[in-house]
Symmetry: C2
Subunit: 459 residues, 2 copies
């Protein structure tokens, strides 16, 4: 078995330049799922993904349409019923590239600088999808897959996967498996292989404030009209208390407390103040008092403003008293918070705090609960071993601050746990300008997933 | 004299359709002074203005270049040294038309609907400039001007007249006069002729907040990084106290108190809560406690946010933790506040309140003090009589919330008082979409200014 593993790893080493070129082709497709104007590009990315599965020689390869962006599926069940079946999840859509002026090279023209490949989606997560496709290719081209593999690749992750749960429910048999692999979480550092066993959930809202029914002259009406931009700021400012805790009524009622053992492990992670300062360039850290940085990100809920817009934002000055103001506000949730309840908590906060000098409206954009994976299942042990074999050192376990709703959905609908790993680094600028993937980590990722599939096949 | 006055009024009545057509031509020139891309259009508006003065047959007509947008000058001194000289001020630049989607007809294609002419600059203040030009035309074409008249028409009012003070200083002899007329203030209602004797000043700033040195993923970093959009909201929320007073240190130190007599007059103005609610469509009024609405707008300083921008503001959701946030913040000032001191007060507030988790910067955009005109001068008495003769009722005196820095500059540099009136209405949507001028008020304005010039000539 070790022989088959090494042969596949050698194959991957031999073809690594082509693998990177294929990733570049993938990046060139601007599959921005949130942008209605990019719908055709998202579809082109689905077709490109389908072609990869066909090239591998998988069976039942198909593009499944949904109400918005399609799902791509393919499988190889040649290992037979005596071997476990792994469902590999990925998404081929990407975040919008704005602000464009901050990219050093074009977001959709992948560019190598130093050890990194820059481009939107390199790390999140076209690069990770290619890692899994190429691990499967390496094994199939050097003796066959040691386990059964199914690929489920969606195009709506960056907009909250609105059509995925329905698809999973309607295709429970097709997706039947023993474990899932979700390579959409990252590493703590290039030399620190990492397994994520917890993810935060997400509740994303747009809050709109209206005051007067048209824009006003701030000289003629300033003094009698509650400025909607100021009213919005006042409401947002009240969403945190002086200890950095979120002030929505009942927000912490269901937050699961970290036990002493888990806190001890958390504090072993090499992610102190300096780690976060270095990776962000922020002048100083902030957050909920009483918790370490890694706890605040991994195990405590947070509230962020993702966007603000009101009035005149061009060059120069305009003395307008704007009629409206908008904020995009999202909360990262931890077990056992419920995004529907958080929505109600936000509404209650606004009902209590919003003054009657303005009108307001909240639109729920997306919501998903947090999730925790059982660390004792065989698939987690297999990835642990595979990462150790690849990096020559034990991986670290952590809970991550990001949200991967599909992990909770697979637990709930398919009854399977997800192995969460990935080969992105903290400075990959996910969702920001100059997103990149560290090319040596990308190659090591292919090696690690190859070994993971082999170790799973040993059982 | 009454005969000459009536002949001119008849002339204006006879030519009123042409006057409106000329205003339409003026509106079609998109002279947006704040927009660098509109520089040529601003110049075209200066040339159009110059041509009007030439058509009138004025002397010394000239376009004076400045560092940005030019000043247009012309005069008629035929009344001779025995008669007073009036300096008529106006501006031919306009505010940006954004948001464009809220205009019912194109901002720069003037359109009549009902009794109104819609278009950017109709009321503020190309319409008012045309009123004065046509009053002068009516008198010149029917026997000559009863007083000496000088026109000073600038193209930078909407950006704070950065080059006007220098021009006035350098052309003190050219601009020598007994009084100034500034028709850039409005009327309380179409049947309420209004004289403004006080104006608020303006201090306009752009506040920029930085946190991390690039946009971050809100899942991976939410909980340790002070979100710049939230930090901005917190700082803005703290700028008012619970009584609606402005919380900048020392802000009220130099605010001149209203005496009982002035408060009594203020309260005679037909501008109660309903007036402001009707003209704005706001659900409820707000403002500094202890003052009537008209006092809060006319005689008390205010602080407004004119624009807010941070992060992702497009359609859909993006889980970005933005690197920066920006607000345009302006204060309307009353006597005897000094805009330079207000700038220092804002800096002091930020030095005291801004947390060390973010960096900040303030850019001063424009600043001018408030001004008060002596109500007992002969020119104010003349406009009082002219408005009464035109409307058949006594005009009301008020202090207005807007800012016209040139009034203070003329007091300071030329030593002359300004007569402030104008024929715009409270629902003219100055600075907002669907700006309009009430056409009957425009015509009455021409009549009123014609009579004003005649009454001044009677002395």
């Amino acid at each position: 078995m070790q022989e088959r593993e090494n042969a596949a790893v050698d194959y991957a080493e031999l073809h690594k330049d082509r693998f990177l070129d294929e990733l570049k082709d993938y990046i060139r497709i601007a599959s921005i799922s949130t942008d209605p104007l990019s719908k055709d590009d998202v579809y082109r990315a689905a077709q490109w993904t389908e072609q990869q599965l066909l090239n591998l020689g998988l069976q039942n390869v198909k593009i499944y349409p949904t109400d918005r962006h399609p799902i791509v599926y393919g499988e190889n069940l040649e290992a037979g019923t005596g071997k476990p079946t792994l469902l590999i999840y990925g998404h081929y859509d990407v975040q919008p590239p704005e602000p464009l002026e901050l990219w050093e090279s074009s977001a959709f023209e992948p560019t190598v600088r130093g050890e990194n490949l820059f481009g939107r989606g390199t790390s999140d997560m076209k690069g990770q999808v290619i890692v899994t496709l190429k691990a499967v290719e390496a094994l199939m081209r050097t003796g066959g897959l040691p386990i059964n593999v199914k690929f489920l690749l969606e195009g709506e992750e960056e907009i909250g996967s609105p059509n995925l749960p329905k698809f999973i429910v309607e295709h429970k048999d097709l997706l039947k498996c023993d474990f899932a692999l979700n390579p959409d979480t990252g590493m703590i550092g290039a030399d620190i292989p990492t397994i994520t066993y917890g993810l935060r959930g997400l509740a994303y809202f747009e809050l709109r404030i209206w005051g007067p029914d048209h824009d006003l002259h701030s000289g003629i009406y300033g003094g009698v009209i509650h400025n909607p931009a100021i009213a919005l700021c006042e409401l947002i400012a009240g969403m945190h208390d002086k200890d950095g805790r979120i002030a929505l009524p009942g927000f912490y009622d269901k937050v699961r407390t970290l036990d002493e053992e888990e806190r001890k492990q958390f504090n072993l992670l090499p992610m102190d103040d300096d780690f976060y300062l270095k990776n962000t360039g922020a002048p100083k850290l902030t957050g909920e008092s009483g918790y370490m940085p890694v706890e605040r990100v991994g195990a405590r809920p947070t509230l962020d403003v993702n966007g603000l817009l009101s009035g005149f934002t061009g060059q120069g000055s305009k003395t307008v008293l704007p009629m409206k103001a908008m904020a995009k506000i999202s909360m990262r949730l931890v077990p056992d918070q419920d995004p529907k309840e958080v929505h109600q908590q936000l509404l209650k906060y606004l009902e209590e705090k919003a003054p009657d000098t303005i009108k307001w409206e909240v639109e729920e954009m997306t919501g998903s609960p947090a999730s925790i994976t059982d660390r004792n299942i065989s698939a987690v042990k297999a990835i642990d071993k595979a990462l150790e074999r690849t990096w020559g050192k034990k991986p670290l376990f952590r809970r991550e601050g990001g949200s991967v709703p599909v992990v909770g959905q697979m637990q709930e609908i398919l009854g399977v746990e997800s192995v969460m790993t990935g080969f992105g680094l903290p400075d990959d600028n996910l969702h920001g300008p100059n997103e990149k993937i560290h090319i040596p980590s990308f190659y090591r990722g292919i090696e690690a997933i190859t070994r993971f599939l082999c170790i799973l096949g040993e059982d």
